[in-house]
Symmetry: C2
Subunit: 469 residues, 2 copies
């Protein structure tokens, strides 16, 4: 399947939602309509339900064939046994593809349902229509105003994401959004009875809008082809991969979820090593790596100057960095003396890390310190770190000003700078820090939520950069 | 130093804050007064500053000797060079101990300051007074209404915590508070020029109110003694230990922070293994282990039944559990059939994990499912898991009801149950989930923030339990 064949699926002129509930606005089938409306989808939206009627001013057609003219793309929300009939009808209406959100196929492990899915595949080939799914959320392409979640970002970005799981596609996009990550295309592809991981990975490799590829995968249909496709993808773009179902129990969970065959840790580990794929182990880790690739793209080395609040925090962040292969070199005497001329030494610590606790609210002075640290030749980048609400003698009410000072001062960095702000997971404290984190994100800065996650993602990205050179 | 010698330090009848600012209410020296007032300290509070005057209705004495009668405990907030004089004056007033919050001693690496600290130690011995610090936050003992942070919990608990770092003492207590952890005593002891880690560890070992010991340590004064003390502590109580300054850069950071000598990874690793100490690598991990020891105290095995929302989440949590040695066994057919009779199968997955997405808001039905899972003989405990705001087709507005349903249903568990709720780190979403997490905590449930952290802490605690039997 070539890029030219697949690309139109992301730009349909008309979409029919077949099997949408007419009665219950909270029902999951409504998500697709809500998303298209929220995104102001520019093409035709057709609703189909035998009961007919109207939803939000849109006519509900009793069946697909009652729709006047052609339909580009069908979203199948009908019960599983009705799926084969819908494939035939969709072909008749000229649809290029049908996405089945419907579950209840091979993932049930029941013979009858496995055969039902096989029947779908056979019919699709016979009728010349492509199937996405079943048992998935389908496509998100912000440029086409096409989404499966109303609260996904409306702006387009450069990350292409393939997720075998619908939940893991939603979880990742929603979290990554608050870290400044934007997507070119997201594909939730479920059981992959027709179009599969290799087709979509190949598509993203060729897609000019996609600069970075993220993959959540549970199983592979054709190992040999997947290896070839992954090899080419990893040669052309950074690929971050999370393999779900790597343990014995995880493999069983995968079978029940998308009916896929999982494969062993050893195989996936050596595959990723050989091909230069960035292997990660959680959705959070995917996001941390994406943030690093997007906002610290040209890191050449792992020598870091750390500047933040607290002596104990300084010790812990240094350990987290060096344990993962980054280096926190000692501050040269000459720079130490320059910093001593800028801010008072009492209560601060002028090493690397620089603990500036006693100057935490003075943006101007902190900016000068960051300027000095940026001029340190041995250093590749800086990290500014804060644990809001947790520093001795600093009140929670002072933290907005402290965060503001760091935000302002970070602009004085002439080398790349990353920010770590530990969210304050407390009632009355969470909203404040989380909202403030948005100011850093809006300023285009890479923001991380913990010392360990930042050190890990930066170290992974750096290893990737070195491999590529 | 015996338990009887040290215990009175935690129950002073009078406390003098020497060097408190009279002019700037935002100054860090005010924290100690604010804390004692907020905690309604029952003894006498004396304030000392040469400027005299009054703060919050309390008289400010020009010097310690102007205070009528004796003073049990002195908190030294004076500049470092004035510290020796304060030791002498405190002894004259009959004080048993002086806590120096003041920094600027051996941690600066300057000879003059190192000698100043030595002078403190010598004077303390000469005058028969004990020193806590310098360069630390001192003591927190809620039973004595004695605290160094106004927003620490007022209720007493069973965790004793020794932290060489003031910041790491505050960060841990504040975060742990929202997870239901309460403390018997917390000791921030800094440079440890007189009383040191071994003294306090011995004290907590003998303290009847302390059932679990947590330690953040940067360096050890006397390795042989520390080993002996740690060995006895670990024999009598669970000990969770975080060693700060384990890498090359971390060791340098430690030197600048508390002036301690750090020691290598190999030494600390083998020490903890040999003595059965639970070794961890971050403050968050300490809290996760404390939560497990407190709220899942009698776990005998690692066989777990998982019940939560989302197929992709089910796969990931299973991998996280099994990767750390827990087991997620397949659901027996008989139990599967019983669950099928309770809730509909469409859109749910009846394996282990049980994905109950389609029944997420029905507390009563979910309670029956949890009852059935509790009766599964092979299983040692259950985990309920939710990723608020990130499940397909479920709206953010529905999540309070979904969390409420899980909270209600968890009461039907006749085996231990842990809860994982991923905080929604998004503006407008954070406060809601964080506040709701408090309902689970208030119900006495162990709550974790990620699949990985729960699996890790439960696995560490289980290994400890097995070792102890």
């Amino acid at each position: 399947m070539s890029y030219e064949d697949l690309d139109p699926l992301f730009h349909p002129r008309s979409i029919a939602l077949v099997g949408i509930t007419t009665t219950n606005p909270e029902h999951w089938t409504r998500t697709f309509l809500d998303s298209l409306l929220e995104f102001k989808f520019k093409g035709q939206i057709y609703l189909v339900n035998p009961k007919g009627g109207e939803i939000k001013g849109l006519k509900v057609y009793p069946s697909l064939k009652d729709i006047p003219g052609t339909v580009d793309y069908v979203i199948g929300l009908v019960p599983a046994p009705l799926a084969p009939q819908l494939v035939k009808e969709s072909a008749t209406k000229g649809a290029k593809a049908i996405h089945f959100c419907t579950a209840g196929f091979s993932e049930t492990g029941e013979e009858e349902r496995i055969n039902l899915e096989k029947e779908l595949t056979r019919l699709a080939q016979e009728e010349g229509i492509r199937i996405i799914g079943p048992n998935c959320m389908g496509l998100y392409c912000p440029k086409s105003n096409f989404s499966f979640a109303p609260d996904f970002p409306k702006e387009s970005g450069t990350v292409g994401y393939i997720s075998q799981s619908g939940g893991n596609s939603i979880a990742l996009v929603k979290q990554a959004k608050w870290r400044g990550v934007r997507f070119s295309k997201v594909i939730s592809y479920g059981n992959a009875c027709d179009l599969n991981e290799s087709d979509f990975l190949e598509y993203l490799t060729d897609d000019p809008e996609t600069k970075i590829i993220a993959v959540y995968i549970e199983g592979v249909k054709d190992g040999k082809r997947f290896r070839q496709v992954l090899e080419r993808a990893a040669k052309e773009k950074p690929v971050v991969l999370l393999k779900g179902g790597i343990t014995e129990g995880g493999t069983r969970a995968v079978a029940g979820h998308t009916g896929a065959l999982a494969g062993s840790e050893v195989i996936w580990d050596s595959l990723c090593r050989q091909l230069g794929v960035i292997r990660v182990y959680s959705l959070g880790e995917i996001i941390d790596v994406l943030v690093t690739l997007l906002f610290l793209p040209h890191l050449k080395g792992g020598n870091v100057a750390l500047v933040g609040l607290g002596g104990g925090a300084s010790v812990l962040i240094t350990d987290e960095c060096e344990r993962r292969g980054l280096k926190v070199p000692p501050l040269p005497q000459e720079l130490k003396e320059r910093i001593q001329r800028l801010i008072p030494e009492a209560g601060n610590i002028f090493r690397n890390p620089v603990d500036y606790s006693q100057t935490a609210m003075e943006a101007e002075k902190l900016a000068r310190v960051i300027e000095v640290l940026s001029q340190w030749e041995e250093i590749d980048f800086l990290i500014g770190f804060l644990r809001p609400g947790q520093a001795p003698g600093i009140r929670r009410t002072q933290f907005p000003q402290i965060m503001e000072a760091l935000l302002e001062a970070s602009k004085a960095a002439s080398k790349p700078i990353a920010i770590i702000i530990e969210p304050d997971i407390s009632p009355g404290g969470a909203e404040g820090t989380v909202s403030f984190i948005q100011k850093f994100v809006s300023a285009g800065l890479p923001v991380y939520h913990s010392f360990a996650s930042a050190a890990n993602a930066i170290s992974l990205s750096l290893r990737y950069n070195k491999l590529r050179r």
